[in-house]
Symmetry: C2
Subunit: 429 residues, 2 copies
């Protein structure tokens, strides 16, 4: 971990810049797979699954029998934990559904907004060493609350042509309508273009490697919505003299173990804490199963000492962390001053991992500074808010002059006409 002491504000932007990721080299490879799936559908998906995942699938959709088998394989203890997390996530996200409020902007001019679930959505869950069933809760639960009709899940099969039982358990628990054993670019292409097995969806969610995120970026340009731009996961801890070095080190490591490109950042007013955290890091690292990954991530990471909390707050706002932990005495007051972050964890007993799994908030969050413009996933991500208006004959008369004047001033006489024909005639009110 690089230690930087009292950097002047003029240098922050440069200092906090994330490593640039060049995806142009992937584009061509990704496009070949996308185009073939678009053209040949399931046949292409089967071909690429054999090529990339090393397995020939007889069927891509997980069957009822496979679901029952997987559910039986998950321990009761883990099932209970997943159900508890699902209950908390449900409780938090259910409150995100707004009611309909009718607003009469002028007499006879009624306007309102209605949230309508996106009919068909696709969720991608990566395979690899860690079966990220927690992400299924984070995407599937808001999708169901939003009222999405079709919720497709794609995840790469292992060499035996299977998905991890916990993936299947979580998927059936949250009400995924179709679980498919498809991974990588071919999964994104199948959901974007549709195949005989996979329905075409309007929006695609979920994490993935560089190939998957490039594929998502490509389909976004073709009009398929995506959850948000991707980047390596990151945590920033803002700490004062009340922070606990052991806790902070554990939090930094919980992020660092995600991947070698993870970013962890400690911002503190307390120089001594940096030394203590470094000692703790060494102790805890020695016992960590994913030590190699975490060590590598720490190499790209920083501890920044600032002269006071005002500077610390300004600096973390400039960074716009995916996860921001505030381990300070006045955590609530400081929390109020945060303007850029994906999710904020207040106080010494709110580790990031609580939010990653079970506090109830969503763990799909904007990384890479995107928190300056993007929100994390919520029920909002799965709905369209459609506006409605209904004018009475009197309402149109009340508003008509305003519309006609503005339309004429914009040189759009046809717009004015649509009012004029109604205010001169009058068929039914």
């Amino acid at each position: 971990m690089q230690i930087i002491k009292y950097p002047s504000p003029g240098t922050w932007k440069q200092l906090l810049q994330r490593p640039a990721i060049d995806k142009t080299s992937l584009l061509e490879q990704v496009k070949i797979v996308m185009d073939e799936v678009k053209l040949n559908g399931d046949a292409a998906v089967i071909k690429f699954t054999q090529q990339f995942d090393g397995v020939v699938l007889s069927g891509m959709q997980v069957t009822e029998d496979e679901i029952a088998e997987a559910v039986a394989l998950v321990s009761d203890e883990l099932k209970k934990a997943i159900r508890q997390a699902a209950a908390n996530v449900t409780l938090f996200h259910e409150k995100q559904v707004p009611g309909i409020e009718l607003i009469e902007t002028m007499i006879g001019v009624q306007c309102w907004r209605k949230s309508i679930g996106i009919e068909k959505v696709g969720l991608y869950i990566p395979g690899g060493t860690a079966p990220l069933f927690s992400t299924i809760l984070m995407l599937g639960i808001p999708a169901r609350i939003a009222g999405c009709k079709e919720i497709v899940l794609c995840s790469p099969p292992n060499k035996q042509g299977k998905l991890h039982p916990a993936i299947i358990y979580a998927a059936q628990l949250v009400g995924i309508t179709k679980i498919c054993k498809i991974g990588g670019v071919q999964a994104i292409a199948a959901m974007a273009y549709g195949t005989a097995t996979v329905p075409q969806v309007s929006k695609i969610f979920g994490p993935g490697n560089q190939y998957v995120t490039t594929a998502k970026q490509l389909v976004q340009q073709e009009g398929i919505a995506i959850d948000m731009p991707a980047g390596p996961s990151e945590v920033c801890v803002l700490a004062d003299e009340t922070a606990n070095a052991s806790f902070v080190a554990a939090d930094l490591l919980s992020q660092a173990e995600h991947g070698v490109d993870s970013q962890v950042l400690l911002v503190t007013t307390n120089e001594l804490l940096v030394t203590q955290v470094q000692e703790e890091l060494q102790k805890q690292l020695a016992l960590l199963p994913r030590k190699k990954i975490a060590e590598k991530a720490l190499e790209n990471s920083m501890a920044i000492v600032v002269k006071n909390l005002e500077d610390g707050i300004a600096l973390v706002n400039e960074y716009a962390a995916e996860h921001l932990m505030i381990a300070c005495k006045n955590e609530d007051v400081i929390g109020e001053k945060i303007t850029n972050a994906g999710s904020v964890f207040l106080g010494n007993y709110s580790p990031e991992s609580a939010g990653d799994y079970a506090s109830g908030t969503n763990h799909t969050l904007p990384t890479n500074g995107y928190a300056k413009a993007y929100s994390g996933v919520s029920v909002d991500s799965f709905v369209r808010k459609v506006t409605y208006q209904k004018l009475s004959k009197q309402g149109l008369q009340n508003i008509g002059h305003t519309v006609v004047l503005m339309a004429e001033a914009e040189g759009l006489d046809g717009h004015a006409n649509a009012v004029r024909v109604r205010n001169e005639l009058g068929v039914r009110s």
Copy 2:
């Protein structure tokens, strides 16, 4: 207008497909301008303004004197109309600001969401024949309500190096913080990368020609958020035997006059209405100043006769119109069955132009079928909804076992550790 009678549902998707727009040829030209602005800032902007707008600017920012001069030039009548529209838009959008609700998902586990305005946003308003000051209300008002700190507006100068007075009047009315006389790709680049005059923003809004939309798409790939993907404007009218042919024709023309690529669609159960509307179109077209544009747009447009309203509803849901008008007897009941649309206009006295200018709803809406996944602009578009969580020592103990079990099952022991160190130690609660 092409007339299609009783198409079978299997043909709808094909029938309703929008014309494909190929922007690849523009990419290279757009990128040259973008790169030069990125490199040379204001100097490049001045150069391209001279090249594309034919004017050498002494200063790009509209001054206080210029604002005062413009305000004096707008007629009192138009000012009053703009203020009325602004009042309605404000009234409707103010209700979109959610309160903060603290949710205790388990005892000692508190979660909430806070809406925070995006600090810096950029609005683009095209020049050309029509000065679209109404779009300034539709973008500037929600930006201000959201609490955005810096709201930059760029619009191309005319040959005299000026903006239309109504543009400047609307901009100062809604509280734009900086008005710049910059148009086209150079405006998007200036807002995306920042120059000495134009601050770098996190999200860019507003309509534009093919060059502008290509530039927006490019910066989106670099992490700058944009309002939504662009496409030609469109209206769909669903009508039964109670519709008024003269009103329907006026509505179709109000859309058709936007541009030669505008789409208008009439879907009706009433064959006779098609004939009547066509007669009305001829009558009204003859008197329309933008006749040539509207005629051209009508050539690409369709009247579709369906056998009953159920088919009509299904068809308009498949189309996912930017503006959907329901000119039917049971407009409210039908409105309830709409699943895909940008904005819905109910009944014979709710012309699209009322929503375009003054009803209070937003007129920046998803076109091109994007309403299947995207919402129109609202206060939501200008905020991030940041989640917070605060766990007490007891709260972490309540949730800890769940987190540890799930982390272990995902193979992320570091995540489990962040709970373990806290639940064994215990520094302060």
